[in-house]
Symmetry: C2
Subunit: 152 residues, 2 copies
Amino acid sequence: MKRSGADAKLVDRIAGDCIAVRVRLINRVISAVYDEALRPLGIRISQANLLVAVARMGEARPVDLCKVLRIEKSTLSRDVEVMKGNGWLESDPPVGGRNQVLRVTPAGRDLLARSRPAWEAAQAEASRLIGAPGVDALKEIAGRLGLGTPAG
Amino acid sequence: MKRSGADAKLVDRIAGDCIAVRVRLINRVISAVYDEALRPLGIRISQANLLVAVARMGEARPVDLCKVLRIEKSTLSRDVEVMKGNGWLESDPPVGGRNQVLRVTPAGRDLLARSRPAWEAAQAEASRLIGAPGVDALKEIAGRLGLGTPAG
DNA sequence: ATGACTAAGTTGTATATGCGACTTCGGCCG
DNA sequence: CGGCCGAAGTCGCATATACAACTTAGTCAT
């Protein structure tokens, strides 16, 4: 069962053009850069993102975070659980009731402040890897996809 | 504990500039587009990517796949396990020896062929969401990050 | 040839991610 | 006021992802 002509064409087309292949690879490589830089601090870039989003909102309702970050509610629920366990987030009321709001704890704020140098280093490395035009393009794309637009 | 000036600046800087935030959001949104389109076929875009990569190589050694896809060896090991279970990949020898090679099964090839329309639809939708210049930029970035370059 | 070293793969553990099903509040309608 | 409905959250399940530790199989030097 060798690659017949039609198969090869399809395979080459997907491998050569697929947007998802590229987006996913970029995600792995870039996330690794930030994770590596942040590792000494015990936080991952996914968690730092969430921490920043909550900090930005002051008091964040889970459903709003989901809209802003384009994350599924069940995913957010579990991410928050881990971060509460780490002492970086707290909710009011503590139990997963209905109109709970999330807040960054003092420990969370402290961690964020201490993370700055590592974040800056990762950001510089990512910029170098991607190139300035690429960075601009990513910002443009993320904006198109609704970054920061609660109303999806 | 309200947002003091310094905190707000740091938070705004990260939220406003962080490359990882954007890359990860793009990844979630775009992967969802492909996953949704492929769902009726019972395959995910991550798996389709792997299937295509193996098909392209003909006979693929895991370690080479890891280099090409920039995936950790343990991740690949488990992804392959699932895909063997689904009958899309086979290895020779079957047990996880040393110089095993992976091959796409006839069922895997058939699935790939049947997936084409869904993939094309997802590709079109992703292009629309991202915009033509953005698509070009993503290709350029992925190339810079070594897409298709076995030697990392 | 044999022992040391190294590279390749697997397994344990943890997090990230999403779908589907379920639960439980809140608000609205009569 | 009481019941219904829909939205918000949680939980079960499956996969994707990576690090650390371990296993094993080639390789290489003597």
